[in-house]
């Protein structure tokens, strides 16, 4: 049993990280009052951008610098894409769910369209990605060292840092409190002198940047190739956001759950103890649990109260 856990753990973490950062992006957007169902599309745009950048640079440069450049480009492209959503839902009071769906569809179609035009097959392969490493000293600690500090990626530590900073910003800074107030009661926030439109723009752009980063990390850690989809991880991130009740630590817990559930489902065939469970059960397990969790949380949902509503300054 222990060896199974030890084997699964690093993979589960690797799988969790893109989910975590994307859900965190969704958190900024929804906490500012804009529902962002386009996380999937934003991830795809980031994945595409990072794959293209690294593919383009890998002949010209060496080392891990190009990977970080790839991630930076992914975040920037994510922001640009999210501006479409921000403009539609903030300036034009569009239905945020429909606008988000449009973002998903545009990203899915446009990236494959461009990729096919560039490579012919529509897939963009990269030759180098982040390499896992053992953290010095810490990996020697018994038990914890094996679980947490071996075979880790630099991006994992970077994202965890982003998580801590985000939690701090949300709960301890003026900006964070303003952001949350825009998601709860934007009319009151505006009366208090807060620029609701500006804050919501920042919220949506942050979701674009972080989702783009999430998509980029998928490509540069475990995928190694852009194939035109992120297999529903964006939607899973959305579920994690609700599961985690719109709180950074809650999201961490929820994404870890999904990370482990998915990894167990993926490796179940090679591990005898798990192979006895029909794979279909393991595959649908995370989604069924999400539905159950939605039912349980339905009475005490911590959802931002104004999320999804267009901001109408005259409404009382």
């Amino acid at each position: 049993m222990w060896t199974i856990i030890e084997q699964i753990f690093p993979y589960a973490i690797i799988f969790t990280i893109p989910l975590l950062i994307t859900a965190l992006g969704g958190l900024f957007s929804e906490r500012s009052g804009i529902v962002n169902i386009g996380l999937e599309g934003l991830m795809i745009s980031g994945a595409f951008a990072s794959a293209l950048t690294v593919n383009f640079l890998q002949d010209k440069m060496q080392g891990s610098t190009i990977l970080w450049i790839g991630l930076l480009v992914a975040a920037v492209v994510g922001i640009l894409f999210s501006l479409l959503h921000a403009f539609a839902s903030i300036n034009l009071s569009a239905d945020q769910v429909i606008s988000g769906t449009a973002i998903n569809m545009i990203a899915m179609a446009l990236t494959v369209f461009l990729a096919r035009n560039i490579t012919g097959s529509g897939n963009i392969r990269i030759t180098s990605g982040f390499t896992p490493f053992d953290v010095p000293i810490l990996s020697k600690i018994p038990i914890i060292g094996d679980l947490l500090f071996t075979k880790t990626y630099a991006t994992t530590w970077f994202i965890l840092l982003v998580l801590i900073i985000s939690a701090f910003i949300l709960n301890k800074t003026k900006f964070g409190l303003r952001l949350k107030s825009c998601g709860e009661f934007p009319q009151a926030a505006q009366a208090a002198g807060i620029n609701v439109v500006g804050i919501r723009y920042i919220g949506v752009m942050l979701s674009g940047a972080l989702s783009g980063l999430g998509g980029g990390i998928i490509i540069l850690t475990y995928a190694g190739e852009f194939t035109g989809s992120v297999s529903g991880l964006g939607f899973l991130a959305l579920a994690s956001l609700i599961f985690g009740q719109w709180r950074p630590l809650g999201i961490l817990g929820a994404t870890l759950f999904f990370g482990f559930a998915s990894t167990i489902a993926n490796v179940s065939q090679v591990i005898p103890e798990l192979a006895v469970i029909p794979p279909i059960i393991l595959k649908i397990f995370p989604y069924v649990v999400t539905l159950i969790a939605l039912v349980i949380f339905s009475k005490s949902s911590q959802a931002p109260k104004a999320a999804g509503e267009p901001f109408d300054p005259g409404k009382r």
Partner: protein
């Protein structure tokens, strides 16, 4: 009328954006669109293929539009199609009745499968106020994995692990006379069922008490409740009918246009249904024409791709951009208002000037 204008402007803007994309990759938009429309409408066989491509889209568009009318966003049409298609395929592969009975049973199975898949989120919404968007997305993935394991497990194809067995010739929605009439196209009975569905849905929405109640719930849930309507029952019913329509779309796709099911794919027609409904302003007739347009775009891009080097994903991109413009129709409304105002202002300004000239 106004909705039609907005939809038409969205389409034009989407096509312009598609043209710009073609320019961007160094192709000629005029040539591209010529091949696209030729590919969709050049001869009777291609017209048949276009109509067949549009058939599942009519169903999925109706499904989304119907739920929309009750204020529900059914984003789970893909999953409902899969389950409906799976149920129909299972019936078609397992039983050996005479053709009319079998087809009828397959359609019933599709309706039940799709309806059941939409009933769950509908029930969760009505009973526990679980947001239907997230619930239907989860149901999509559950459907995806269900098909992924059930098809190879029980209906494995002869050659491929990733496909179901092919339905026998007589057990699909294709009929010889239609195929002959359209010179070998894969057009099938699904189209007739789709037209019937358009008429029935239009009747339900516009002429029945049920339709009135569903729309009332969509406009204002609380007012509907105050007026004594059973809101929760209506929500479940709306999802059920929406899912049944989606299931029929699955039947048309998997047992009409195709004759086997593939695993590992959520049918894109489910998401396109959102675009179809939006463009058709959620009216059954609008959905019908929007689906035809998307059918032209999809079936034409294959030919275009063969003739000049433009990736077939152009169709998806144009559709996605159209849906974005339809979603931001406020902008178009504002522009229309502005246009109207400036025109009436222009008249006012010209008036006095004209009089001066006379004097």
């Amino acid at each position: 009328m106004r909705n039609t204008i907005v939809s038409l402007i969205s389409i034009v803007l989407g096509l312009i954006a598609g043209g710009l994309l073609m320019l961007f990759i160094g192709a000629s938009p005029i040539e591209g669109y010529t091949y696209l429309f030729q590919g969709a409408l050049k001869n009777i066989a291609r017209i048949g293929d276009t109509l067949a491509t549009a058939t599942p889209l009519i169903f999925t568009g109706l499904a989304v539009a119907f739920a929309f009318r009750t204020g529900l966003f059914n984003i789970g049409v893909s999953g409902q199609m899969l389950i409906g298609g799976l149920a129909a395929t299972a019936v078609g592969l397992s039983f050996d009745f005479s053709r009319p009975i079998l087809i009828l049973l397959m359609i019933l199975a599709g309706i039940i499968g799709g309806g059941l898949w939409a009933f769950i989120p509908g029930f969760l919404k009505a009973r526990f106020n679980v947001h239907e968007v997230v619930a239907t997305i989860m149901m999509n993935w559950i459907a995806y994995w269900t098909v992924y394991y059930i098809v190879p497990g029980y209906f494995k194809g002869e050659f491929l692990e990733t496909e179901s067995r092919k339905l026998a010739e007589g057990n699909t929605l294709r009929t010889p006379w239609l195929t002959e009439m359209f010179q070998g196209s894969y057009i099938n009975l699904g189209l007739f069922f789709a037209v019937i569905a358009v008429i029935i849905v239009a009747f339900i929405i516009n002429k029945t008490t049920l339709g009135f109640e569903l729309k009332a719930v969509g406009f204002n849930r609380h007012a509907a409740e105050y007026a004594g309507m059973k809101v929760n029952r209506n929500i479940i019913l709306s999802m059920l009918i929406s899912g049944a329509l989606a299931g029929l779309g699955g039947v048309a796709l998997y047992t009409g246009n195709a004759s086997s099911m593939q695993i590992g794919i959520l049918p894109s027609q489910g998401y396109d249904g959102i675009a179809v409904a939006l463009l058709g302003a959620n009216s059954p007739v609008g959905v019908f024409f929007a689906a035809l347009l998307f059918g032209i775009l999809y079936s034409g891009t294959g030919f275009m791709n063969a003739m000049i080097e433009i990736p077939p994903e152009l169709a998806n991109t144009i559709i996605a951009i159209i849906i974005y413009f339809a979603a931001t129709s406020v902008l178009i409304h504002r522009l229309l208002n502005k246009f109207r105002k400036t025109r009436s202002n222009a008249n006012d300004v010209n008036g006095p000037v004209g009089k001066k000239g006379e004097a």
